[in-house]
Symmetry: none
Subunit: 198 residues, 4 copies
C-alpha cells in the first residue's frame, strides 16, 4: 500500500475503510467488486488503486487494520483477569458493539476474514489472523473457568458457544438495521442456557 493513505483526513480514511469492510464482509474477497465499494462510499475507483496496488493489497490492508482495531478495542475494554468465563464472553460481545460505532461492519468482517479461504489472500492474512486469534485466546485464558473445568469436555462446550454466537451475529446483520440491544439479549440467553447446565 501507499503510505500516503495515512495523510488523508481521518474521516476519509474511515469512509474508505468502511466501504471496503462492508463489501468484503458481505461478499467475501473474490465476489467483492470495486464498483460496489465506489457506490458504498462515494470514493472514486482510481483512488482505491492509488493507495492500494490492487484488490489483494486492499484486502490485506483492511483485514489487517480491522483485526488490529478489534484488538485495540479489546485491550481498551479492560477485561479483568479472573472474570468468570461467561461474564467475560459477554463482555467481549459488548466490546464488539463498541467497535461498531466507528466500523459498523467490523464484527461481521472479522468472522468473514476467519472463514476466508481464497488462495489469492490466504498467505497475506495468515499472520494478522493468527495474531488476532492469539490476542483473543490470551484474554479468554485469563477467564475463571472454575464453573466449567469440572466438566471434562468443557473445551468442546466453549466451541459450541462460539459457533452459536457467530450464528446470532450473522442473523443480526441480515436484518435491515443491526440492533445491538437485541443481539446482546440473544447472546445472553445462549450463555445462560449453557451456564445452567453446569
Amino acid at each position: 500500500m501507499n503510505e500516503k493513505f495515512y495523510s488523508l483526513k481521518k474521516e476519509k480514511q474511515d469512509k474508505m475503510i468502511n466501504g471496503a469492510m462492508q463489501i468484503f464482509a458481505r461478499y467475501g474477497y473474490r465476489h467483492a467488486s470495486t464498483d460496489e465499494m465506489v457506490r458504498a462510499c462515494g470514493v472514486s475507483k482510481g483512488l482505491w488503486f492509488h493507495y492500494f496496488e490492487n484488490k489483494t493489497g486492499l484486502y490485506s490492508f483492511v483485514s489487517s487494520y480491522g483485526l488490529k482495531y478489534a484488538m485495540l478495542e479489546l485491550s481498551m475494554a479492560q477485561i479483568k483477569s479472573g472474570t468468570d468465563y461467561f461474564t467475560l464472553r459477554y463482555e467481549i460481545e459488548e466490546c464488539k458493539m463498541q467497535m461498531m460505532e466507528k466500523y459498523p461492519y467490523l464484527p461481521l468482517f472479522i468472522y468473514s476474514i476467519i472463514r476466508e479461504e481464497d488462495p489469492d489472500v490466504a498467505e497475506l492474512i495468515k499472520e494478522p489472523r493468527q495474531k488476532y486469534a492469539e490476542a483473543v485466546s490470551k484474554i479468554m485464558m485469563q477467564a475463571d473457568y472454575s464453573a466449567l473445568t469440572n466438566h471434562e469436555d468443557y473445551l468442546l462446550l466453549i466451541d459450541m458457544l462460539d459457533y452459536s454466537i457467530e450464528a446470532l451475529m450473522n442473523d443480526g446483520y441480515r436484518s435491515p438495521v443491526f440492533s445491538a440491544e437485541r443481539y446482546l439479549t440473544e447472546v445472553k440467553k445462549h450463555i445462560s442456557a449453557l451456564q445452567k447446565l453446569l
Copy 2:
C-alpha cells in the same frame, strides 16, 4: 434442463453432477466457474450448456438433485422413531458418510445450498431447500428428547450442537482427503460432551 441428460450413462451423469457439486460447494453459486467444472470432471464446456440452459439452470438442477438424493439416503437409513436424540443425530452423520460414496461433496454442498443467498438462484432453490429442511425436521421430531426436555433451554443446546457439527464437517473438507472415520469420531466426541452434561 434438457431431459436427455437422463439418457446419458449413469456414470457420466454422476461425473458431471460431482463436478458441479464440488465447484458449487467450494465457491458458491456466483464464484463457481464453468471452466473449473470442466477441469474438475473433464466434460467439455459446450456439454454443460447442451444439457442445462445456463448456470442458473444447472445450479437449480444439481441443488435440487442433491437435496433429493440426501432425503433418499435419509429415508433408506431407516432411522427408527423413538431413537434417543443423540443416537439419532449421530446416525444422520453416518448417513452423510454413506451419501459421500456416490457424491463426495454432497454433505458440504448441502450446507452451501442452505447458506446460498445469491438473488439469481434464491427463488429457484427456495422450495427444494424447504422440503429438505422439513424432511430433516420430521426425522428429528421423531427422536426421543426425554434426555433433553427436562432442561428448559434445550432448543438452544440443539442449535449449538448443529453449528458445531457443521464446523467439523468444514474442517474435514479442508484436509486433502476427507476422512470419514476421523470426522465421525469428532462428531461423537461433541455429542457425548453435551450428553454428559444432562
Copy 3:
C-alpha cells in the same frame, strides 16, 4: 460434397434441400444455423456433415442445385421467343410459382443467393450465379421489346420493374402462407402500370 447423397431416396434428398433452402433463404448464409435446419426438416445434425463437408459446402451445393432447378423449370416453361416483354416477364413469375411446388422457398432463396455477400461463399457461388443470370438474360433477350425500345431509357425501366417484383415476393413470404394467386395479381398490376405508360 459426398456423392452418396444422390443415392438417398429422392424424398429425403428433397426434405434436406428444402430444410436448407428455407433457413438459408430466410437468414442468409452466416446467420443460418444447423440446429434450425435440423428442426426444420427433422434430419439429424450428423447427416448434414456426412454429406456436406461443412456449412460452406452445403451452401455451395444447395445454391447451385437451386439455381439449376430454376433454370430447368424456366426451360420447361417453353417460353416462346418473340413473346411480348411484359407477357414474358409475367410468365417467368408463373414459372416461379411452379417451382414452389417442389421447393417452396426456392424463389426467395434465389434472391438471397444473388444478394449474398459473405466472403466465405462469395467465390463458390460466383459461377452458378453467373450462369443463372445468363440463362435468365438469354430468355429475356428473346422477348419482343418493341413496346419499349422506342423509349431511350428502357433498360432502366426494366430494372425498376425487377426491383419491384423482388419487393412483392419478399412481401409474399412475410405472410404466414405464401399465396401464389395474390402474388401474381400484384405482379400483374405493376406490369400493367408500366405498360400503360409506354
Copy 4:
C-alpha cells in the same frame, strides 16, 4: 444507455457511432459482432458495454440516433414545399450525400434499419423507424405531383423509383470507396428515365 456517453468528446462519440453504423449496416443486427466494431474504430470492447448495457441497447441507440440525424439533415436541406416531385426526390439524395460527411455509412444503415427483422430489436426500433417514415412522407407529400397524378398508377411508379434508388445505393457501397458523384449521376439518370415517360 449510460448518459455519460454524451460527455465524451464529440469526436470520440462519432468514432464509436460510425464504427457501430458500419458494422450494423453491413451485417445486420444479429451478425454484427462487437469485435468487428472494436477493429473498425479502435475502441475497446469494454467501453462499448460501459456506455451501452448490451448489443440490443447499442443498436437501439445508434439506430435511433442515425434516424434522428437524418431527419435533422432533411429539415436543414430546406426542401421547398411545392417542388416538382422528381427534383425533390433528387434533393433528398443530395441530402444523404450531405449526411455521409459525418456518418459515411448512415444512408446504408438507414436502409438496413428499415429491413431489420430480428425479434430482439423489433420492438425497440418500431417507433423511431415510424417517425422517420413519417418525416420522409411529410416531405414527399409537399411535392408537386402534377407531373404524375394524371397517371392512374403513379403510386406504383413511385415505389419502383424508390426500389431502384435503394439498389443504386447498395451498389455504391459495394465499391471500395463510395463515390457520391457517380451515385448522384446514376440516380439522376433513373429519375429522368421515368420523368420522360410521363
